[in-house]
Amino acid sequence: MIPAAISALLLQLLHVALALAAAPLLVGSTRFAKSRLQGRRGPSPIQPYRDLLRLLRKETVLAHDASWIFRVTPYLVFSIMTVAAAMVPMFVLDLPLARAGDLIAIVALIATARFFQSLAGLDIGTAFGGIGASREALIGSLAEPAVLMVAFALALVAGTTALPAIARFVLSGGVGVEVSLALALIAFLIVAIAENGRVPVDNPATHLELTMVHEAMVLEYSGRNLALIEAAQMLKLLVFISLISALFAPWGMASAEDGLDFLEVLAGIAVFGLHLLVAAILIAAVELAIAKMRVFRVVEFLGGAFILAVLAVVFRFVTEAS
C-alpha cells in the first residue's frame, strides 16, 4: 500500500491535471450544447484545445507601451487560477492544498487574478482596456459581498468555511432541506454567472467592443499570453462550478481519510464529470434564454444576489432562534 503522504501528493497532482484537462472541455461542451440547442452543428467540444494550442504556437505581439506587468499577468493569472482550482475539492474531499485556504481565500485568490487583469487592461493605455477594467471593478465589487454572505450562510450551517468540512457536513445530511441553503445557492449561481462573464452579464462571444467587459481587458493580448488568459478564464469557470458542486452537491466525493480506495476515486471523478456535463447544458440553456443586459442593470442583478444571500443568513438566524 502507498504511504498516505505520497498518495495525497499524487492525488493532488492528479486533481490539478484533471482540472487543467477538464477546463477547456467544459467550455467546449458548453458551446457545443449551446449550438445544438440553437439547432446548429457547432464546433466539437474539443475545439478549445485546438484554439489554445494554435495560440500557444503563434508569435506574441506586444504593444510598444506594454510593461513587465502586462507580460507577467498571463502567467500569474493562469497559475493563480490553477492554484485556486487545486484548492477546491472536485472528486476527493481532503487534498493537501484544500487546507491551504478556505472559501474566502479562494475568493480572494480570484480577486487577485482580477486585480492583475485589470492592471494589464490599463497598462497599454487604451480606452477599451480602461472600460473593461472599470466595469470589471464594478462587477467584482458587487459580486464579492454576495459571495461572502453565501460563505456566511454556509458557515452558519456548517460552522466553518473550510470547503472539505462544509462538504462533509452537507454529505452527512445534517442539513436536510434548508431555506437558507437554497437561497444561498441561487445567490451563488448568479455570482458565478457574473464572475465568469457569461450572459446576461457579459457575452464571451461578443465582437462589439463597447459591450465587452472581460474581453475588453484582454483585447491587447495575443499568442501564448492570450492562450494563458483564455485558459485561466476556462479554469475560473471550472472552479466556480466545482465550488457549487462541492458546496451544494458534494455527492460521490471520495474521502481520503481512510486510506485511498481507487474505486472511490474513480467514482468521484465520474460523478464530477457528470456535474460538469449538467452545468454545461444548464449554462447553455440559460444563455439562450436570457439576453445580455446593460452594465447598470448588472448592479440590480448582483444586488439581487446579495439580498438573497443576506436573506439566507437572516433565515438561518430565525431557524436557529426557533
Binding site: E59, H64, L109, F128, G130
Partner: protein, 668 residues
C-alpha cells in the same frame, strides 16, 4: 526594561531638542533620522522579544507630575505589542526619510519634532495614569502639528495643521472628561485604581462614550475624521507615513486600553457601537478613497478605511467578551492587532512611495501621472506590492489580518444578544464590500499612476530614486511580503498580546509556521507560504515549460486598440472615468457626487469638459456649520470692542444691579 525604555525616550526628546542646533551641519538630517531609527528599532525589537518571551508586567512610579500622585509607568503585553507595531516599521521609514527629507524645502522644520513625536507616542503606551497618558497624548499632537507645519509656507498645509490641532485638542478635552468621569470626584488618576475600582461611578457609561469619541477623533473614525485627509497630504511623505503608521495606531491603543482595561467588564452596546462605527468608517473611507485624484489624500482615506476595520474587530472582540466568549474575543482582538501591525507596514510603504513620486514629478494628482512603471521599475514593483497588501489580497500581509477578521465575523453566530447577532453579519457584508472596493481602488490608483502612457511632461521625465529612498521602500515592501507569506510572525505577537488582555490563548496550533487555523485544526485555514509557493512555482514552471516546447517569438508593435490606436495620452482612460460606474452606484447618495458635463455643440472647437463634484458629509454637516456659527457670533460680539465709555459703564451698572437683585432674591 521599563527604565531603559524611558531613558531611550528621554534620549529621543534630547535629540529633538538638540536638532535645531545641529541644523547648520550638513549631516544633521542623517544623524537625527539615523539615531531616531536606531532607537525605534531597539525599542521595537526589545518589545517584541519581551512579548514573545512572555515577560511579566513591570511598573514604575516616579515623583514627578501631579504632586500627590506622581507619575506611573507600566509595560504590559498590550503596550508591548503596540510598541513593537509602531517601532519596527518606523526605522524603515527613517531610512527612506534620510534620502527624502533633505530634498524638502525646509527639512529642518521636520527634524526637531520627529524624535519628540516618536518619544511621545511610545510614552502614551507606557502611561499608567491619566495624567501621563494625556500629557503624552497631547505632546504627540503638538509634535504632529509641527510636523504637518513643516512646509508652512503654503496656506493649505497651514489650514490642515490648524484643523488637525483643533481636532486633536477636542479629543484631548473629551478624554479629559472621560478620565474625570472614571476617576470620580476625589480624582484618583492612577490606572491601577481605575482597574481595581469595584463599583463604577455614575458617569462611567458616559466615560465610555466620551472615550470612544475622543479616541475616534484621533484615529480618524467617520464622522470625526475631517482632519485626517487634510493633514496627511499636507505633511512631508515620511511624516504622513508616520502619521498613518504610528499616530493613528496610538489612538487605537488608547481605545483598546480604555475599553478593555480601565472601565471594567464591557456592556453589550459598547461592542455594537464600535462594530457599526468601524464598518461605517471602513466603507465610507474606501468609497471616498475611490473618488480621490490626489494620491496622498487617497491613501489617507484608505487609512480611515483600515482604522475602521480595526475598530470593527475591536468592537467584535468586546461583544464576544460581553458574552464571555473569551476565546473568540481573543481571536477578534488578535485579528485587530494583526491588522494594526500589517497596516503600519503597507501604509508606510505606500506613503513613502507617494513621496517618491512627488519628488520625481512634483505631482500628487494621479490624472497627471502615468507610465511611471517604465521610468521607475523598482518603485512601481514595491508600490504594486503595497497596493496588493492594501487591497487585502493574498499572498501579502493585508489579506491575512482581514481574513482573520472575517473568521471572527463568521464566529459571531455564537453571540447570545440578538442585536449584535444580526448586526454583525450585515456589517460583515459591508466589510466584504469594502474589501472589493479596496481592490478596485488600488487597481485604479496604481493603474492610473504607474501604467499607461505618461499624462504630463513631468511624468514622462520622472527618474527612479536612488540610495536610501529606494532602500526604505524595499525594506517596507519586503516586510509586507514576509508578513504575508509567514503570517505567524505578526500573529504570534498579536496572539500573545490578546492573551495578555483577554487571558485566553487561541486554540492550540492555531498559528503555525505554515498553517493559520484560528478556530483550531479542521476549521478554516490559510497557508500563505503554500499559496505563495504554488503560485510562484506554477508561474515559473509554466513559463519554463512553454519556453522549452515552443520557444517564444515576440514582436513589438503599435497597440491594437480595435484598429484605432491614438497616440495622444489624453485618450487613455482617466481615474475619474475608471471610478465613474462605482461613483454612479455608490457615491451619488453618500457624497452627493454631481457630474456636470459641458459638451460643446458640433463645430465648436473648445474641448468638452466633465466636472465631478463631491462633498465629504462629515465636513459639510459637521465642521462647516461650526465654522459659520463662530464666524457669525464673533462678528456680532466684536461690536463690544467699539462701544463708548458710557456704554461700558452701563454694562458695569447692569452687572452690579443684577448681582444685587440676585442677592436680594437670595435673602428673601
Amino acid at each position: 526594561m521599563l527604565t531603559l525604555t524611558l531613558l531611550g525616550l528621554l534620549l529621543l526628546v534630547a535629540l529633538g531638542l538638540a536638532a535645531p542646533f545641529l541644523r547648520p551641519h550638513r549631516l544633521a538630517p542623517r544623524l537625527v533620522h539615523g539615531l531616531t531609527g536606531a532607537m525605534a528599532l531597539a525599542l521595537g525589537v526589545a518589545a517584541a522579544i519581551r512579548l514573545l518571551a512572555g515577560g511579566d508586567v513591570s511598573e514604575l512610579d516616579l515623583p514627578f507630575g501631579l504632586p500627590w500622585t506622581g507619575v506611573h509607568f507600566r509595560l504590559d503585553d498590550l503596550s508591548c505589542f503596540f510598541m513593537a507595531a509602531i517601532n519596527i516599521a518606523s526605522p524603515m521609514v527613517m531610512v527612506f526619510a534620510d534620502g527624502y527629507a533633505r530634498r524638502q524645502a525646509e527639512p529642518a522644520r521636520a527634524l526637531a519634532p520627529l524624535p519628540v513625536f516618536l518619544a511621545a507616542c511610545n510614552l502614551v503606551l507606557l502611561a499608567n495614569d491619566a495624567f501621563v497618558f494625556l500629557l503624552a497624548w497631547e505632546l504627540m499632537s503638538v509634535a504632529t502639528w509641527l510636523l504637518v507645519l513643516a512646509n508652512h509656507r503654503d496656506a493649505e498645509s497651514r489650514n490642515a495643521a490648524f484643523v488637525y490641532l483643533a481636532m486633536a485638542s477636542l479629543s484631548l478635552l473629551l478624554l479629559l472628561l472621560a478620565f474625570g468621569a472614571v476617576a470620580g470626584g476625589d480624582g484618583d488618576f492612577r490606572f491601577s485604581a481605575m482597574r481595581e475600582a469595584t463599583e463604577r461611578p455614575a458617569l462611567a457609561t458616559v466615560a465610555v462614550l466620551l472615550a470612544m469619541l475622543g479616541c475616534g477623533v484621533k484615529a480618524g473614525l467617520v464622522p470625526l475624521h475631517i482632519w485626517l485627509p487634510l493633514a496627511h497630504p499636507a505633511a512631508p511623505s515620511h511624516v504622513s507615513a508616520l502619521l498613518s503608521g504610528v499616530m493613528v495606531k496610538i489612538a487605537l491603543y488608547g481605545l483598546a486600553r480604555i475599553l478593555f482595561d480601565l472601565v471594567g467588564p464591557p456592556v453589550w452596546w459598547w461592542g455594537v457601537t464600535l462594530v457599526v462605527a468601524g464598518a461605517l468608517s471602513a466603507l465610507l473611507g474606501i468609497l471616498y478613497a475611490l473618488m480621490q485624484r490626489d494620491l496622498k489624500r487617497l491613501l489617507a482615506y484608505s487609512t480611515i478605511e483600515n482604522v475602521g476595520l480595526v475598530v470593527f474587530a475591536l468592537g467584535l472582540s468586546l461583544s464576544f467578551r460581553a458574552n464571555e466568549l473569551f476565546d473568540l474575543s481573543a481571536l477578534a482582538l488578535a485579528a485587530a492587532l494583526a491588522h494594526v501591525l500589517n497596516h503600519a507596514f503597507f501604509k508606510s510603504l505606500l506613503f513613502c512611495g507617494a513621496g517618491v513620486i512627488h519628488e520625481a514629478t512634483h505631482e500628487r494628482d494621479i490624472e497627471k501621472l502615468g507610465g511611471l512603471v517604465r521610468r521607475m521599475p523598482y518603485t512601481s514593483l514595491f508600490m504594486l506590492m503595497g497596493a496588493l497588501a492594501a487591497a487585502g489580497l493574498p499572498p501579502l500581509n493585508g489579506f491575512v489580518s482581514e481574513w482573520l477578521i472575517l473568521q471572527a465575523v463568521f464566529a459571531s453566530s455564537s453571540l447570545q444578544d440578538n442585536l449584535p447577532r444580526l448586526i454583525v453579519p450585515l456589517t460583515g457584508a459591508a466589510l466584504a464590500l469594502t474589501a472589493a472596493l479596496a481592490a478596485a481602488g488600488f487597481v485604479r490608483a496604481f493603474g492610473i499612476a504607474f501604467l499607461g502612457r505618461p499624462r504630463s511632461e513631468a511624468a514622462a521625465k520622472a527618474v527612479e530614486p536612488t540610495g536610501s529612498m529606494l532602500t526604505g521602500l524595499a525594506l517596507l515592501a519586503g516586510s509586507c511580503l514576509v508578513l504575508g507569506v509567514f503570517p505567524v510572525i505578526g500573529l504570534k505577537l498579536a496572539e500573545s498580546a490578546a492573551h495578555g488582555v483577554v487571558g485566553v490563548d487561541l486554540p492550540a496550533g492555531a498559528i503555525g509556521w505554515l498553517f493559520v487555523s484560528p478556530l483550531g485544526s479542521g476549521g478554516a485555514a490559510y497557508a500563505g507560504f503554500f499559496v505563495f509557493l504554488a503560485i510562484l512555482g506554477m508561474a515559473l514552471g509554466v513559463r519554463a515549460f512553454l519556453g522549452r516546447i515552443w520557444p517564444e517569438r515576440r514582436r513589438r508593435a503599435a497597440a491594437w486598440d480595435c484598429g484605432f490606436p491614438d497616440p495622444n495620452p489624453a485618450t487613455q482612460y482617466t481615474a475619474s472615468g475608471y471610478s465613474q460606474p462605482l461613483r454612479r452606484v455608490f457615491a451619488t447618495s453618500v457624497f452627493q457626487a454631481r457630474e456636470t458635463v459641458d459638451m460643446p455643440p458640433p463645430g465648436d472647437a473648445r474641448p468638452a469638459h466633465l466636472e465631478v463634484r463631491l462633498v465629504d458629509p462629515a465636513w459639510n454637516w459637521g465642521a462647516e456649520p461650526v465654522r459659520r456659527a463662530i464666524e457669525a457670533v464673533t462678528l456680532r460680539l466684536n461690536a463690544l470692542q467699539f462701544l463708548s465709555i458710557r456704554r461700558y459703564l452701563s454694562l458695569m451698572f447692569a452687572a452690579l444691579v443684577t448681582l444685587l437683585l440676585i442677592v436680594a432674591a437670595g435673602q428673601q
